[in-house]
Amino acid sequence: MPKYVIVGGSAGAVGAIEAIREVDADGTITVISEEAPPAYSRPMIGEFLSVDASMRKLAYRSEGFWQQNRVETIVRKKAVGVDLAGRCVKLDGGEKVYFERLLIASGSRPVIVKVKGIEKDGVFTFTTLADASILKERIARSRRAVVVGGGLIGVYAADALSDLGVETTIVELRERILSLLLDQVASEIVKTRIQEKGVDVITGHSVQQILGKQDDESEVGAVVLDDGRVIACDIVVMAVGVRPRIELVQGTGINVNVGIVVDRFMRTNMPDVYACGDAAEAYDFILNDNRVLPQWPTAYEGGRIAGYNMAGKEVQYPGGTLMSALKYFDVPVAAAGLTDPRGDDRCEVLSSLDPLTSTYKKVVVKDDKVVGFILVNDIEKAGILFYLMSKGVNIAGFKEKLVSNTFGLISLPAKIRNRMLEESFRG
């Protein structure tokens, strides 16, 4: 019986394997993945699409990763159920994989809005390499695309499509794009840049129907918006968000809210069963509560924590929070935590905007601690703010420097700087 079984073969699994092998060199590890190895980086599929990035570039770990870590891989198989009493995972072919400790790192899947015409040929999602591959084939004979959703995935897809010369329109239901991450000002800067690059951005509207082509009803020909507008297109990319893949554990007694609920050790409520990544609902240190955070680094870190604890080394998850760096359409953006605290009057907002260069800095402070920030166009110091935020450093003494142009490590008291140097050395 394999000691460790991991469902999923992406960031969470890689983190778990690396942590397990730091602690336990011998315990057998089995990974069940719908995709075939090697482990590639999902956030880089746009590079595959636009600049034809090679597998070497897309690879998240070396080709020999599984072998080096002595991982048995069961690929192109789907885990369809968990039998906790029998301590096994059931696969779609009827096989059973027995475990001593189980990690569910099954990820998320894109939400498909069930509008009329959704079944037509030419509707794509954009989260896996397989998605990018079939989209790439299609682009060869396509001129126009509509991206449904102006979140991270939608804007990323639009960036890649427009790089390839496809005439692209983003349709976002909310009043602004990247609304979960950015405030009005930052969102507007990015939107202006996107439009300068020739991509149409329509906000406050939704796609109601997908029409076929005149000569072939089964192929995407146009979309109809809620105000009746018709936008001709050959491709529709659905990018309205992702949902945790939790079907596997439903009915097992494993506690599920939006995602699989885990504690600070990435344990579910059931003994020997752990979860991480997009499928999990884990601790957010800004919210001081659990939430689903579908972000690659969060999945990797959660996987690591799960791996340590599965292998018997007790390590507490410090928690993650919303955080993203963007480079879409060549506008560098870094944002994390609570970025738009309207309605929370205990928060104080510090900001500066240089309209000439569209350089925007915003720091959200609560109880003398950084709880969120947005930087646009000058993001080099983002990590210093992220450090202050994640360590809960009291910034009362240098608050006014946080959004100044000269903000740097030097803006922090020597005591804090020295502590940081020491921490970096000790780990």
Binding site: S41, P43, M44, E47, A53, R56, K57, L58, A59, Y60, R61, W296, P297, Y300, E301, R304, M323, S324, A325, L326, K327, D330, P332, A334, A336, I379, E380, K381, A382, G383, I384, F386, Y387, T406, G408, L409, I410, S411, R417, M420, L421, E423, S424, F425, R426, G427
Partner: protein, 157 residues
Amino acid sequence: MTASHREAVTMKKIIFREEVCMGCGLCEVHCLVQHSRSKDTIKAYRREDPKPLSRIRLEVDRPTTSVVQCQNCKDPPCVMACLSGAMHKDIDSGLVVHDADRCGGCLTCVIVCPFGAIKPDYSIRRIVAKCDMCQDTGIPSCVSNCPNEALVYVEAG
């Protein structure tokens, strides 16, 4: 021998001595030139495209001056967060190594580096740049050209 033990034996580090830094900024100049194609100051600053970048940053808040570059953290957040696997910790040298060929330029390392020591490269390359301790030259250029020995290169064991 464990990895961390080995690291302690062999790792070298650039140490900054704030009390003798004059804030001249020559570390930035020499870093940039060292990482240029021409290795010539004038050409590096004025002619090269894409522009080479300094991987060390002088910060000034008079009377204090300071320089910041990669500290090669023991548990590097940039390695943990890297979306592409381009950033990794070399066990033998203890250095955090950035493989530009595998870098997707996602800038996630920039947002998690506590020192702000990773530089977004806004040129067409769309990647990041960081201190590599001048692995080709033996002694880091910022250290060998610091006129007041505010930067020193030492065994960190």
